[in-house]
């Protein structure tokens, strides 16, 4: 982290032909990544007619009303509100269930512990889609169809495996002398968990919370199967309906897309560290 800015152990530096090639390569990839995104944001400012003739450039007339109409609509805020409610509830329940389980797996020895841990981490092996139909039937039988809980509980169940692994690793790395001392002083496990482990684990809780939030915020399949009423839809469902309604009015659809990915991008800018760490951490050490 403290290396000088010019150090380049892996590749070239300076103005060699190789460096120029490298710069061009980076530029090409930047264009590949950014062109669709920039065109989407700008497209939301155009009229349909202009979009047809000038999809790339700046709008000749800025149609602020495309964005304003969406921002002033109840629909947009309702979709975001639903997504926020579902994601928040998913995060809270995941953190509670996973951290308690991870605490047990990190600190308590008992017969069958490894087996149970293996059992829980089986969830990493296959996607939710494999069991989506029986899951639907289950949610229906519990009377939870068309409710946010019917989306949250399966999402939590599938988020548990990874969360428990990440939390357990962190809990284990906490100094064990703390726990021993606390137990001798008559502190109970739950108290220790509540007043020592959790406060010390804020970084990892933030990381796990952030990735769970992003996954839930972006999720499509489970809400698609479980929800019917548009008043309960999270934004990915809502935007698909919107697209069905305005099928070829791309300027409106682009504005809507921009406004729905905006929260993700803002979150990304603020919680960059946690997101990158969380999404790649499970991977690197896994």
């Amino acid at each position: 982290m403290s290396e000088p800015a010019a150090s380049a152990p892996f590749s070239d530096d300076g103005f060699s032909p190789a460096a120029v090639g490298k710069a061009l390569y980076l530029l090409a990839v930047v264009l590949f990544v950014m062109t669709p995104l920039v065109a989407t944001v700008l497209g939301g400012f155009k009229s349909l007619g202009e979009l047809r003739t000038n999809p790339f450039g700046l709008p000749s007339v800025w149609e602020w009303s495309n964005y304003a109409d969406i921002l002033l609509s109840r629909r947009y805020w309702q979709l975001l509100g639903n997504s926020f409610a579902i994601a928040t509830l998913t995060v809270v329940l995941t953190l509670i269930c996973a951290s308690m389980a991870a605490f047990v797996f990190a600190h308590l020895h008992f017969f069958g512990r490894d087996m149970l841990l293996n059992y829980l981490t089986m969830g990493l092996l296959f996607p939710a889609a494999t069991a989506i139909l029986p899951m639907f039937i289950k949610v229906r039988d519990l009377g939870l169809l068309d409710s946010h809980m019917g989306v949250v509980l399966p999402q939590v169940a599938f988020a548990l495996a990874m969360s428990i692994l990440l939390l357990r690793r962190f809990f284990k790395d906490l100094p064990t002398e703390l726990l021993e001392a606390a137990l001798v002083d008559g502190c109970s496990y739950p108290k220790f968990f509540r007043y020592v482990t959790l406060p010390l684990s804020r970084p990892i809780l933030a990381t796990v919370g952030t990735i769970t939030f992003v996954h839930s915020w972006n999720a499509y399949l489970i809400p698609l199967v479980m929800l019917n009423s548009d008043s309960l839809y999270p934004w990915p469902l809502g935007i698909m309906v919107y697209q069905g309604e305005y099928s070829t009015e791309w300027h409106l659809i682009l504005a809507f897309i921009t406004l729905t990915i905006l929260p993700t991008i803002i979150l990304f800018l603020f919680a960059q560290k946690h997101i990158v760490a969380g999404l790649t951490a499970g991977a690197v050490k896994g």
Partner: protein, 296 residues
């Protein structure tokens, strides 16, 4: 004496803690993950539309129906194609960018973030953005064609090109994630080895080839693992782009399951697809762990 008593208190506390802390996770996991997988195996033996109880037992017929279905074959092939593209295009792209951006230079962190950005966007939004890019009338690609005076192709409307168009989006969306994996790994590489190679007169290419890449091997295997697992669950991206069409040419196994199982409420048939997918995932995960990642 006092210590012993404390011990016993701790043991009692231990049991009650386990009984208090484990059940929520176990219960949720069992109810919504394990049981449904088991039930999928059970339901897959029935011809059942989901209402009432399954009664019409047809044995393994659903599996036969799945394998007889031409669209399932296409979906399976498409999943393989994603894996091939991940290995042949995405991996080299991610690796080369990681090697460049692992160095710190002005803008390198910003570039990493730019390349990582597509990964955190929702698949649905990504799919919609690219259905705009590919749109034959309003799309970006159409504009490029038109500027050359050519007629724009409807990429997503032709069975020959639709899935190829999806593959481009897959690379666009996921290469940044793999790049980040590699960057994280590169930062743990022992610099002294590179230094030693340089002193021994190794060219940059040689030190890449003989020092950097070998030490990245575990990460490469991991990246391949993620690419394959990701391929097996790809769904959200397909829906806004093609919904599996035209003429069922661009399904993945999950979108096939959704279209032919869920939207038609053929619970048995859909469960059979789920079981097949489950078996593929599990068999793959174990073999991969055993044979490819055995060094770790």
């Amino acid at each position: 004496m006092a210590a012993l008593a404390g011990r016993r208190v701790a043991d009692v506390g231990k049991l009650s803690t386990i009984l208090l802390f484990l059940p929520p996770a176990l219960l949720l996991f069992t109810l919504f993950v394990v049981l449904p997988v088991g039930e999928a195996a059970w339901y897959s033996g029935f011809n059942w539309n989901g209402f009432g109880k399954p009664t019409n037992w047809i044995g393994l017929d659903n599996y036969r129906f799945v394998f007889d279905n031409r669209a399932f074959g296409t979906a399976f092939k498409n999943n393989l194609l994603i894996i091939v593209v991940s290995l042949v295009i995405q991996l080299p792209l991610a690796l080369s960018l990681a090697i460049i951006l692992a160095d710190r230079f002005r803008g390198s962190v910003a570039l990493r973030m730019v390349f990582f950005l597509p990964y955190i966007l929702a698949e649905i939004a990504t799919g919609l953005i690219f259905s705009f890019v590919y749109d034959g009338d309003y799309g970006l690609l159409a504009a490029i064609y038109k500027s050359f005076g050519a007629e724009a192709p409807h990429l997503l409307a032709s069975p020959q090109t639709a899935f190829a168009a999806i593959l481009v989006v897959v690379v666009w969306k996921y290469f940044g994630f793999h790049m980040m994996l590699f960057i994280a790994a590169l930062q743990t590489i022992d610099r002294s080895m590179l230094e030693a190679a340089r002193i021994d007169g190794a060219s940059r290419w040689q030190s890449l080839r003989y020092v950097v890449i070998p030490s990245l091997a575990p990460t490469i295997r991991l990246s391949v693992f993620f690419a394959i697992v990701g391929s097996l669950q790809l769904f959200d991206l397909v829906m806004p782009l093609t919904r599996g069409g035209p003429s069922d040419s661009s399904h993945t196994m999950v979108s096939f399951l959704y279209t032919f199982g869920i939207t038609r409420m053929r619970v048995g048939f859909g469960s059979a697809v789920g079981v097949i997918l489950f078996l593929i995932c599990v068999v793959f995960a174990f073999t991969y762990k055993r044979w490819i990642m055995r060094d770790e």
